[in-house]
Symmetry: C2
Subunit: 246 residues, 2 copies
């Protein structure tokens, strides 16, 4: 039931939607606490909490004495919270077993891209992609559960992961194997905005390649979605690791 969600979520979601779809453009003022309480008929607490959440997400910024405003270029946001599969549940059963020390386990399999995934990988729906699922265990405790998707063509260079060796080839390794020329800039983006967003990157000369998307569950935490983006340019080439989740 999404109907009896906490009310502050209703506020968050509506404002978020308006920011994402441009109804509230960058710089636009967000309704004040007082206005929100009226418009959504909620208490001050809920209104404040909603604003705090959006601020924490980096979508808006509060200026004391003045108001909250939509941040510049929060365009990366729309990618967020989209779910490209929900089939991870059975895999989560793997999280029961316990080994020792730290281990990576993985399993790759070919699947076909759904609509959402295809859009994000800039493929067509139905195109072959490789789904790989990982369990990372540290000291017997499963710490991370990741599912990554990438265009099947990129996987060419590695074929089936050889057991015993390392199953998780770096994107860079795989990319060069696949003939994608990159140099070696790799940067992880740890905050969401303001930062070079997807739209910034799209404006660059030669475009953007989204290499793979990945959803990671850290034990006990909400999933984090990541997307590696390659920007080939004249002055530089860049592999971007972008967290998409909140």
């Amino acid at each position: 039931m999404t109907g009896n969600d906490p009310v502050y979520l209703r506020v968050v979601e509506e404002l978020r939607a308006q920011i994402v779809d441009g109804t509230l453009p960058p710089g636009a003022p967000i309704p004040s606490r007082a206005q929100l309480t009226q418009r959504f008929r909620v208490g001050e607490t809920a209104a404040r909490h909603a604003l705090r959440v959006l601020a924490a997400e980096g979508l808006i910024i509060g200026r004391v004495g003045s108001g909250h405003y939509v941040r510049e270029k929060s365009v990366l946001y729309p990618l967020q919270r989209s779910r490209h599969t929900d089939h991870d549940a059975p895999f989560a059963a793997d999280m029961q077993a316990g080994g020792h020390r730290a281990t990576w386990d993985w399993r790759s399999e070919p699947v076909r891209a759904g609509r959402d995934l295809a859009r994000r990988l800039r493929l067509d729906p139905g195109d072959p992609v490789i789904r790989t699922r990982y369990v990372f265990r540290a000291e017997g405790r499963p710490m991370q559960l990741a599912t990554s998707y990438e265009p099947a063509e990129l996987g060419k260079g590695q074929a089936a992961p050889e057991e015993g060796t390392n199953g998780r080839k770096s994107l860079l390794a795989r990319m060069s194997a696949a003939g994608v020329k990159i140099t070696d800039i790799r940067e992880s983006v740890h905050t969401r905005v303001p930062q070079p967003t997807e739209s910034d990157l799209l404006d660059l000369p030669t475009g953007v390649h989204v290499l793979h998307v990945e959803r990671t569950h850290w034990a006990g935490d909400r999933p984090v979605e990541t997307s590696d983006i390659v920007v080939p340019g004249d002055r530089f080439r860049l592999v971007y690791s972008v967290p998409l989740g909140a």
Copy 2:
């Protein structure tokens, strides 16, 4: 004046200190809202906010109906909020100029490790390190300001960055140049805990190498500190990119 900070910060800081120094070990129950209001003579709001902050930081976890508890192995935390230099201010002047498209600028120079930096890089104070400063500009707007430090010995393979080529060699590239054998797992950690923490990694057979530390300013946001850690093991080798900041 730290004296007239918000009161909830007092609560946060005291509890945080106790968690960090082990007075409150993993699993230990945190005083409840009611107890905190009494002990710190603050209102419920402040107590709740303090708990929320600590929970958001990943230090504690709340279980409804039961209480808040110190999370397992939150030992990564002490690294946080340490400042290894405060000399970035002049460099920030670079942020004025504006080019076009996206560009990386950087400048490397040899310096000597201070106490804090040495500890984090597992060097001795005074050991030579390379400091590199980057400005990343997208569409003329400076988006990122980063300062990274790494042991000078790692820089051997690259000497002075050749102008015109790419100044920012990947750690992996540099490490293999320096004879550090790694395979190819690279994972960015986007949440702080629970996750394989430094102490988890320390328990691994061959130990941990902290390769470099880096502080990054995204335009308008608080700095994020990152540390790349290599864990050579029998079953895998892992380069960990760990955000240290809150």
